[in-house]
């Protein structure tokens, strides 16, 4: 019988102990003695969140296809267990073999959002691995980071031995081969291994680079300390989505994951080029997975998991070429015996409304638009190609089809935003409500319509045209939300409108981490050592602790938030060759100032630089 690492006494004293026992359906069992390399994959948040992430399942599948590698998993222990492990000095362990991670060869941590940064340190600390790369010895695992946050890895650079820039499918084999051959040598030396690893495409070894700063605090030089270490690190891209690894037997958790369903990744990248959107830039070019392959995957995944729901994953499902065929296949062939289909991020038109009416209860569901900005001027600035006609036309079709709930997503704090732009948000919502009362005769109405606006505060991200933009202090964000709220109350149909806005504290911190440099790492370390972790969770986030940490480390928050960057400023992430060139981003930044829109990749190539990857939409 399987033995667990934690005692029965501990497991019975913590919440949801099933998070820590492993043994889930489709989890991989291997004899660790039979492999050459033990890898532990970590999502630094609680189990239910981490288990919902497709990327880890892809890499878990891919790595475990190698007979000489055993990839296991670990997630952040919830604070109740964290405290017990610290108190009793219990090391963090992997779910599959229930063995301490400190005995593994490698620990890979995926970085999906900035607010998990303190949890990186939590995982290292509980694993009893030194927090800083410079303090690690030959016997410590190699700590590797990956995911979208590594497009500016500098605020966390000192915590990692390697940061993998790009899609994981391409370079892990080379890294594993190198490690296995180096580790078997009698004179294995961690530093020599890392230096060799830095020559594998996509791998950034932060300890091999030195940064110097100008007097104003911006970067002067960013250079490798040895000649054989590359000056730039090239983002890794999967060229053929039809042959790359995909988990057709994904793990089925016991504890209900946030996303408890089968997932079909239909494409990577997006053709749209919205100027605020990092995903729209860093996953270029748009690459579709073929309809034939997806059909097989859907059947296999449903059969191997027993999931009762299947969902499509992509940045913009409506842009997938064969979407009608795929959706009809799912409805006709998969959606029987109680299997549901969930369709995220669809553009609202006749086709999507027809599909939605087949798979959802119209009375309970809502239609969703993401105009991101209220005024057409602002939508031109951000290059969101959605017009007021698109929105009203879609909403009218939905109202005729029987829907009476509409959700609208916006951002506040976008570059050049004026009070008119803010007021345009509730005005647009009011217009939609008015349209409902015009369109649907009184006797056919199912009560009032319900138009819900949500705003988040805009955070400029690296490798976007808005990477030069300034941010604002907390009070300014709240002031803007108040303008929206007050204007909503003045609207004729205000009783049909609802408004929700996000917390502003987290926005400010997220902004600092997103575009921070190595100096910010001291602050993160200080904050963790003074009790901050699980910052992505409202109940554990404490802004005062962070303000104290910045003060204690002598790091000025305003330097990162309040400054619009000079067009030629050297950014901490400039050493990454992302495919999308800085020249293209500069051009897009200037065009946004002129309120000029740029066409999507299907209509016209705009020369962003990603054509050199020679795949996907760029071949058309």
């Amino acid at each position: 019988m399987r033995k667990l690492f934690l005692s029965d006494e501990i497991l019975m004293s913590v919440e949801k102990s099933a998070r820590y026992i492993g043994n889930e359906v489709n989890s991989i069992k291997k004899d660790p003695k039979e492999v050459d390399l033990r890898f532990c994959m970590c999502f630094p948040d609680v189990y239910e969140i981490g288990m919902s992430h497709l990327g880890i399942q892809i890499l878990y599948e891919m790595m475990n296809r190698r007979e000489d590698v055993y990839c296991e998993r670990v997630y952040s222990p919830w604070p109740d267990l964290h405290k017990i492990m610290k108190e009793k000095n219990i090391p963090l362990f992997a779910l599959e073999t229930q063995e301490p991670i400190k005995n593994f060869d490698m620990l890979g941590i995926t970085l999906q959002y900035e607010m998990c940064y303190t949890n990186i340190l939590q995982v290292l600390d509980l694993s009893q691995i030194p927090l800083l790369t410079k303090d690690r010895s030959n016997d410590d695992p190699i700590i590797i980071g990956g995911g979208p946050c590594v497009y500016n890895p500098e605020p966390i650079a000192p915590f990692f031995d390697i940061l993998y820039i790009g899609e994981g499918e391409t370079s892990y084999d080379a890294l594993f081969d190198l490690y296995i051959s180096e580790r078997n040598k009698a004179d294995y030396n961690r530093q020599d291994f890392l230096r060799k690893a830095s020559q594998i495409p996509g791998l950034y070894v932060p300890s091999l680079y030195e940064v110097t700063y100008k007097e104003d605090g911006t970067i002067d030089t960013f250079l490798p300390i040895y000649e054989d270490v590359p000056k730039t690190v090239k983002r890794q891209v999967v060229v053929d989505m039809n042959t790359s690894a995909y988990p057709t037997k994904p793990i089925v958790p016991f504890v209900q994951a946030t996303q408890d369903r089968a997932v079909l990744e239909i494409q990577r990248g997006c053709i749209r080029g919205c100027r605020f959107c990092q995903a729209g830039m860093i996953y270029r070019p748009n690459r579709e997975r073929s309809y034939e392959v997806l059909k097989d995957y859907a059947k296999e995944i449903l059969a191997s998991t027993g999931h009762d729901e299947i969902s499509l994953s992509s940045l913009s499902s409506s842009d997938y070429t064969q979407l009608p065929e795929l959706v009809n296949f799912l409805i006709d062939d998969c959606c029987k015996d109680g299997v549901n289909i969930s369709l995220p991020s669809l553009r609202i038109d006749a086709f999507s409304l027809d599909v939605m009416s087949k798979v959802q209860d119209i009375k309970k569901s809502s239609v969703t638009f993401a105009p991101e900005a209220g005024s057409q001027r602002m939508r031109n600035v951000i290059n969101k190609g959605l017009t007021v006609e698109d929105i009203l036309g879609g909403a009218q079709k939905a109202f005729i089809g029987g829907w009476n709930k509409v959700k609208l997503y916006f951002m506040l704090g976008l570059p050049s935003e004026t009070e008119e732009d803010m007021k345009a948000i509730p005005e647009l919502a009011n217009e939609i409500a008015a349209l409902y009362y015009e369109t649907v005769p009184k006797e056919q109405r199912n009560g009032k319509c319900q138009i819900t606006m949500s705003t988040s505060f805009f955070v400029p991200k690296p490798f976007t045209p808005f990477q030069w933009a300034r941010m604002y202090e907390k009070d300014e964000y709240l002031h803007r939300a108040k303008i929206v709220n007050d204007t909503m109350k003045e609207q004729l149909n205000h009783k049909s409108l609802r408004y929700q806005w996000h917390h502003a504290d987290v926005t400010v911190l997220e902004g600092i981490f997103a575009r921070g440099d190595r100096k910010v790492a001291d602050v993160i370390l200080y904050a963790y050592e003074h009790g901050q972790y699980f910052d992505a969770w409202g109940e554990f986030f404490d802004m005062q602790n962070w303000i104290d940490a910045f003060d204690a480390c002598g790091v000025d928050m305003d330097f990162y938030i309040m400054r619009e960057r000079d067009i030629d400023e050297v950014f901490p992430w400039d050493f990454i060759d992302c495919g999308v060139t800085k020249k293209f981003l500069q051009r897009e930044w200037l065009r946004s100032k002129e309120e000029v829109v740029t066409k999507n990749c299907k209509d016209q190539c705009n020369g962003c630089g990603c054509a050199e990857f020679d795949c996907g939409i760029c071949l058309r």
Partner: protein, 251 residues
Amino acid sequence: MKIRLRFSKFGTMKYIGHLDMLRYFQKAFRRAKVPMKYSEGFNPHPIMSFASPLGVGVTSEGEYMDIETKVDVDLDAMISDLNKEMVEGTNVLSAKVLDDHTKKAMAAVSCAKYVVFLKKNSQVLSEVDLEKATREFYDNQNEIVVLKKTKKGEKEVDIKPYIFMFEGTRFQNASFLKDLCVDIKDEEFCCNDDDPVFLLQVSTGSNDNIKPELVMKAFYEYLQLEEEAVIAIHRVELYQGEKNQFESLGV
């Protein structure tokens, strides 16, 4: 076809909560291609219900679930298909077809039998004559009053009418352990020859649900001994019917 399944839950699966078990079985039925009958509507769910939720940390070899299939199935083939889709720690043990008039297990269940083990190396009861003490506690007392938590706070309740059997003995003399399906030697509560072990039968179901922990607490209080923190509980069987005429829910 209406079917009642009996299954076991042991090892690491004892940490899986009731709702997670429900989802686990729903998915296992789909993987095993059992032609379940589904409810109507936009979110159809398979028709299935457990007899009695099992607490987290409790193992069992007497779990029951009623299901309904769209078409008639071969029970032995279904059991074998299901067990291929189960992870270590859950096993479908048997199944029987129910006629249309059979009360649902959830409504019928009235009593449960448990074995209670103490944690390894427990000393508190080492000097106690268990056979005698349990007899005195259960047979000689007219009422067994405990403080029970309710929605409004705590209140005194006499639980004696809801306890149908309470025996204590030493491991080496516990003949009832020989009949258990689950190999208790594998479990963490594995006992030495002279460690205490208890057999209980208590009221179970939507009314008057008595947990074995509550009886043990009353027992320690009766002996004026300090209660031990960790005990392991194993559910042996579920019954329907009235006192003195209990019959197994299963096959």
